[in-house]
Structure formats: structure tokens, C-alpha cells
């Protein structure tokens, strides 16, 4: 199996992907992982999340940014707390954006080094807006500092 980057308690680890079946919505059975394409509407899934092993969002091209909004919605609005995996054209220089939108596992493109891609996960220390991992935009954090 191929290698994955996973965030476990906020720490990145490299591990082998397990054998969970990951299939599109029309083939999904309880216990499977769910594979979403960029056209899939995450708001009308109507799945029992408890039976979903993981959700994988496909990036057919790293330049297709729909997966970021899908991840945001799954995390912030639809209450998905399980594994959210980026698959497809997943590259080092986008990993930090994916992480901030709520992905916690990353199936880096097969021809790229996973160890190398890991360097892209941290990104920059400053994010102005809110994100899946920091729900308060910077201006609320700045204001919080001022009152100390």
C-alpha cells in the first residue's frame, strides 16, 4: 500500500494506508470509506456518518479548489469528525492549505516523496482568516491579546 501523511493529535506521522475500501457514493456500503469528487454536493449526502470509515476528497488537479470548500463544509457545517483525506493531485505546496480547511490525512501523489511533502504541511505561522483548525479569525485573536 502507499504511504500517507496523517495528523494524529496534531502531530504529523507517515504511515501505510490501510486496506479500507474507498468508493464513490453510489457504491458505498456501511463500513466503507466514501470518495467524493469535486462535483459531489456534500450538503446532500444524507449518510449515517457513524458508518463511514473515512471521507476522501479527490483533487483531479491541484488547481481545482473545490475540495477546499467541501472540506470546510464537512468540518464546519456538517459535523464530520472522522478522517478527512485528500487524494489525487496532492502536492507539498498545497498541504498547509488543505490542513487549514480541515483535512487530516494526505495521500500525496504517488510519484512524489511523502517525506519531502511533509515539509509543506506546516505552512506559514500567520493565517488572517478563520480556518477549520483555528475558528477565530486573526482580528479576534489580536483583540484577545490586547485585553491581557
Amino acid at each position: 500500500m502507499s504511504k500517507l501523511i496523517r495528523l494524529v493529535d496534531g502531530q504529523a506521522v507517515i504511515e501505510q494506508a490501510d486496506a479500507t475500501r474507498i468508493v464513490p457514493l453510489d457504491a458505498w456500503q456501511p463500513g466503507d470509506g466514501l470518495l467524493l469528487g469535486p462535483d459531489d454536493d456534500v450538503e446532500t449526502l444524507h449518510l449515517p456518518f457513524a458508518d463511514v470509515a473515512l471521507i476522501a476528497i479527490d483533487f483531479p488537479s491541484f488547481r481545482d479548489g473545490r475540495g477546499y470548500s467541501q472540506a470546510y463544509l464537512l468540518r464546519q457545517r456538517l459535523g464530520w469528525r472522522g478522517e478527512l483525506r485528500a487524494v489525487g493531485d496532492v502536492l507539498r505546496d498545497q498541504l498547509s492549505h488543505m490542513r487549514q480547511c480541515g483535512f487530516d490525512s494526505f495521500a500525496v501523489r504517488a510519484d512524489k516523496s511523502v517525506e519531502d511533502a511533509l515539509k509543506g504541511l506546516a505552512g506559514m505561522s500567520v493565517v488572517y482568516g478563520r480556518s477549520a483548525i483555528e475558528p477565530r479569525p486573526l482580528f479576534r485573536r489580536r483583540a484577545g491579546e490586547g485585553s491581557e
Binding site: 479548489g65 467541501q70 482568516g129 479569525p137 482580528f139
Partner: protein, 555 residues
């Protein structure tokens, strides 16, 4: 001006090192050009015909003297001694080596500047008018919200790979000098009778291949909602905008396909989920940013300066310059001055040399409060000049080739870099602009013609805003040769309009003559002091077409 705090500064420094690493990986071959492309675009770096071009952000067109000196130093040390101001109030350097870009960005970061998101399919530089904070007809200062939007949109992880580029402009004056209706989102700010700051949100404007003026999606939006509402629009666009065809990927096409009501309903549905949440702007944040834009320490001055009156009476040239290049200021005794970057054949429109930049920085300190603005018409504005200093400034500006008294006149041409530099261009822009400027080099005659905007784009991407020029010129490719299509009647501002094509296109050498025939038609039909655009509106295109094409057959 807004000053970076530790967060803002850390972000630009980290971004430089991030890009330094990406450039190294590109040079080593670890990154393919396809993978590198969006990374360099989101750092302002294009590959042009001859070299890399670096587009540096000038947020809402505002620069300090120190920042302008840094741009001059970059022009001198890394380019060929000049830069080009763009219609998005940015500056471009045309002769850049890839390996030097991280060092240039580091120099910029030292003076609180960057090139982040000046290109790519993301939210671009936030723009507003060049007279923000000083215009006599201003309702309120748009810069605090412009800065707040700049921060919100900078490296916002969800919106870095949109279907296409995304442009936001703000205007907060009676006259719209920021062309808000030709933006993906236009925000018009005003206060209601109770003094509350409200926004009219317009969406779906843009030029390019399919020029469309924006439509109002919501009016009376309280300022606290600006970020959540913009976020709702962007999320709907990111999810539903077309990605199969780059020419149909702008938000204007989505708005047109759905219709403004259905699009607005979709945004409303999204917005209901996020409004009143953490994205809502706070009074504390607005005040923190607004504090950076408090009015400088203006001297109490009489509204009328007697020496200035005498100088006006004694010099016709100074009088012409004052009439065209000096704008009313909200503080008595002060004026805003436009320095023309359109001297004619001496330099292409928008091009400014390093020496000129240094001179402007010095004037900004000597005659103002150290601040400079870039107008979307590609000119430079000194926002706070005492009336008694206007004459000295004018003399200095003339010595530096920045004193041409032609703002708003036919020779104040907006032009993109065109086929001389740009790999997207179908045709050259600069030689056509210079030929027209050479043809109309009599300043008295230009003043008689009066307000007339002439905009040139070298391709239908429309960086030269040809659709909204009173006379628009578009470079087109016909079987490998360069031709120019002419439109009439375009306008920016509150009465924004898209120009209409007058007929078949022309060869480059015909263009000055065609413009002359158009102007002559205007002179013949003009009613007393009528503006060109009003005459076109009144009499329609026919008299112009007839003169241009009939004369062409006879010639």
C-alpha cells in the same frame, strides 16, 4: 497609512522564504513548470516574451515615500531602471531574473510590501480610488475596509484555487473613480441618515472577452457583515463557477447563467449559515485599522492662497496644469495633485523611471505627508499638497517629465504593456498609444477637446480597460498581423457604459488618422462645452462611422 504589526510582518517574511524554497526546487527540477506555475503566479511572477515580469502589490494604490524609494531601487538594481504602473494600481518590473526574485521580495518585505496574489486564480489586489481620504466629494474613507479585506483575502486557504481571478474594488464617494462596476465584487460604501456605515454589494462585473457591468446583489448591508458576505459569495463561486473553460470561468458568467435573483438566493442561503459568527467584523478591529488612516496634521490654511492666484494669472501653462491635474481637497488650502505618466513619446503610458520615483518620493515628503497614490489610470497622485506649494511642485514635475497637463484628456491614454512585453497580447499597445500622442501633441487643442478617455488593450483580456474608454482600441490578430478594433461611448464612474464597436478594424498606421476623424466629427456635432462621451450618447455612432469609413474609401 497602515503599518504592519508583528503578524503582518511575519507573514510577508515567511512568504519570502517559502517562495525562495519553491524557486530553488524549480531550478533543481524538483518542481515541474506546471507545478510551479500557480506558485509563481500567486507571488506575482509571470513569464513574458523576453523575461520574467514581477507584479508588486500596491494595496488600494497607497505607497509611502520609503516604499516608492524601494521600488526605485529595485528598478535600478534588478530591472532596466524603470517600472510600469498598472490599471490595478500595482507596479510591474519587466526584466527580472527568476533567481533574483526571492531577494527582491525580501527587499519589499523590509518596507512592508509584497507580491502576494497579484496574479493567479485567487483574490487579487483590493483597489479603491486614488483620492481616498482626501476627495472633496468623499462620503467616508474606504481604506480601513480595503485593508481589512486585503488581510482577509491574503493566503485565505479556501480561496486560492478559484475557477478564475477575482477582483474586488471599493468606492465611497459621490463620483465612482474606482470603476467598481467592472469588478467581480464592487462595494459602494455610504452612511444612512442615522450615520451607520452601509454597503451596496455589486457582483458579476468584469471586462475581458465578455464585458459585463456588475449588478446589485444586496444593498444596505451593515459593515460588520462585509467579510461574511464576501465569503458567502466566494464559497458559492468556488463551488459552482465553471472550470471547464477559462473564458467562461469568471463569476460574471455564473451570475449571468443563474440570473442575479437565483445567484443572490444561493449566496443568501450560504450567508445565513455564517452571518453573526466569528467572521463578523468587530468594532475593535475596524477602529484598530481605521486608526492608521486618521487625517494627517493639516495646517490651518485659508481656502484662498493669494500667491497661487497670482501664479495662475501669470502662467498659462501653470493654469492649464492646475485645471487638469489639480483636484479639490476636503481640507481648505490643500489640493490633490495628479502627476501624469503620459508625457507622449518620451515614455510609454504608466512607465516611470527610478529617478522619477525618487523625485516623487522627495516631493511627497517636501510637499505633503510622505504619501503617494497610484491611480488606476496609471498616473501618480500626491494627495496632500498645500496650494501655496503647487507652483513649485509643478516646476519640479515639469523638470522630471511628470508635469504634462493632460489628465483626463485624449493623450492621457490608458494602455497595457501589449505585444512589446506580454505573451498574451495579440497586438502591440505602446507604439499605437505613442503614435496617437504624437498626432495630438498640441496641448491647447487637447484642452479644447476636453474630457476624452482613450484606452488601449493589446488583447481581449482588457488590461487596458478598452471597453470603458470613451474611445476604446483593442488589438486583434488577423491571420498573424496586428489590427485594431475601435469602440465608442464607453465610460467609467456612476454612469459606466461599455463602448460599441464602430466597424471593421484598422491597421496600426491608420489608427491616429481614424482617431482624428472621430474627434473631428465630435467637434462638428458638439454643442457648447459638451463632453465627447455626451455627444456620442446624443448623436449615436452613425455620424462617426460615416466619417471614418467614408473617408477611408476616398483615401
Amino acid at each position: 497609512m497602515y503599518q504592519y504589526d508583528d503578524y503582518d510582518q511575519a507573514l510577508v517574511f515567511e512568504r519570502v522564504e517559502q517562495f525562495r524554497d519553491q524557486v530553488q526546487r524549480r531550478v533543481s527540477g524538483e518542481l515541474s513548470e506546471e507545478e510551479f506555475l500557480p506558485l509563481r503566479l500567486q507571488n506575482g511572477l509571470y513569464l513574458q516574451k523576453h523575461a520574467y515580469m514581477l507584479r508588486v502589490a500596491i494595496p488600494y494604490g497607497t505607497l509611502s515615500a520609503a516604499q516608492l524609494r524601494c521600488l526605485a531601487a529595485i528598478a535600478r538594481e534588478y530591472d532596466r531602471g524603470y517600472g510600469h504602473f498598472t490599471t490595478r494600481q500595482n507596479i510591474q518590473f519587466n526584466w527580472i531574473e527568476l533567481e533574483q526574485v526571492p531577494d527582491i521580495l525580501a527587499r519589499l518585505a523590509e518596507v512592508q510590501m509584497h507580491a502576494i496574489q497579484t496574479s493567479g486564480n485567487c483574490v487579487r489586489n483590493i483597489t479603491t480610488e486614488a483620492f481616498a481620504g482626501v476627495a472633496a466629494d468623499e462620503l467616508l474613507d474606504p481604506r480601513p475596509l480595503a485593508e481589512i479585506l486585503r488581510q482577509w483575502s491574503t493566503v485565505n486557504p479556501e480561496f486560492l484555487f478559484l475557477p478564475r481571478k477575482f477582483k474586488i474594488a471599493l468606492c465611497a464617494a459621490h463620483e465612482d473613480r474606482a470603476a467598481v462596476q467592472m469588478h467581480d465584487i464592487g462595494l459602494y460604501l455610504y452612511r444612512n441618515d442615522g450615520g451607520e456605515l452601509l454597503l451596496r454589494v455589486m457582483v458579476g462585473g468584469g471586462l475581458g472577452r465578455t464585458p459585463i457591468l456588475s449588478q446589485t446583489i444586496r444593498d444596505g448591508l451593515a459593515w460588520q457583515h462585509v467579510l461574511s458576505y464576501v465569503e458567502a459569495i466566494l464559497r458559492v463561486y468556488n463551488r459552482h463557477g465553471r472550470r471547464d473553460n477559462k473564458y467562461k470561468a469568471r463569476i460574471k458568467i455564473l451570475v449571468k447563467a443563474l440570473g442575479i435573483e437565483a445567484f443572490a438566493a444561493e449566496v443568501e442561503r450560504e450567508w445565513q449559515h455564517i452571518k453573526d459568527g466569528p467572521a463578523e467584523l468587530t468594532e475593535a478591529e475596524y477602529q484598530r485599522v481605521a486608526a492608521a488612516f486618521v487625517l494627517p496634521g493639516y495646517e490651518p490654511l485659508p481656502a484662498i492662497d493669494l500667491d497661487f492666484g497670482t501664479q495662475l494669472a501669470n502662467s498659462k501653462a501653470f493654469g492649464q496644469w492646475t485645471e487638469r491635474n489639480v483636484r479639490a481637497h476636503k481640507v481648505p488650502g490643500y489640493a490633490a495633485v495628479v502627476l501624469s505618466t503620459k508625457p507622449g513619446a518620451a515614455l510609454p503610458p504608466g512607465d516611470v523611471t527610478a529617478a522619477q520615483m525618487d523625485a516623487v518620493a522627495n516631493w511627497a515628503e517636501a510637499f505633503g505627508f510622505g504619501e503617494i497614490r497610484i491611480a488606476h489610470e496609471q498616473n501618480i497622485v500626491l494627495p496632500d499638497v498645500r496650494k501655496r506649494d503647487l507652483y513649485a511642485l509643478w516646476q519640479a514635475a515639469c523638470e522630471q517629465g511628470l508635469g504634462t497637463a493632460n489628465i483626463g484628456l485624449l493623450s492621457d491614454i490608458i494602455a497595457c504593456p501589449g505585444g512589446d512585453y506580454c505573451s498574451l497580447a495579440n497586438a502591440k499597445s505602446i507604439p499605437v498609444a505613442q503614435a496617437i500622442q504624437a498626432h495630438f501633441d498640441n496641448l491647447d487643442y487637447l484642452h479644447d477637446i476636453g474630457d476624452l478617455s482613450l484606452n488601449i488593450s493589446g488583447c481581449m483580456n482588457a488590461c487596458g480597460h478598452h471597453h470603458i474608454g470613451n474611445i476604446g482600441i483593442l488589438g486583434v490578430d488577423k491571420n498573424g498581423s496586428e489590427w485594431y478594433q475601435i469602440t465608442l461611448g464607453g465610460a467609467q464612474g456612476q454612469h459606466a457604459a461599455l463602448g460599441k464597436v464602430i466597424g471593421p478594424s484598422f491597421a496600426a498606421e491608420q489608427v491616429p488618422d481614424v482617431v482624428e476623424r472621430i474627434v473631428n466629427t465630435f467637434i462638428d456635432y458638439r454643442e457648447v462645452q459638451e463632453r465627447f462621451v455626451d455627444t456620442v450618447q446624443r448623436i449615436g455612432l452613425e455620424p462617426f462611422k460615416e466619417r471614418v469609413y467614408r473617408a477611408q474609401e476616398l483615401a
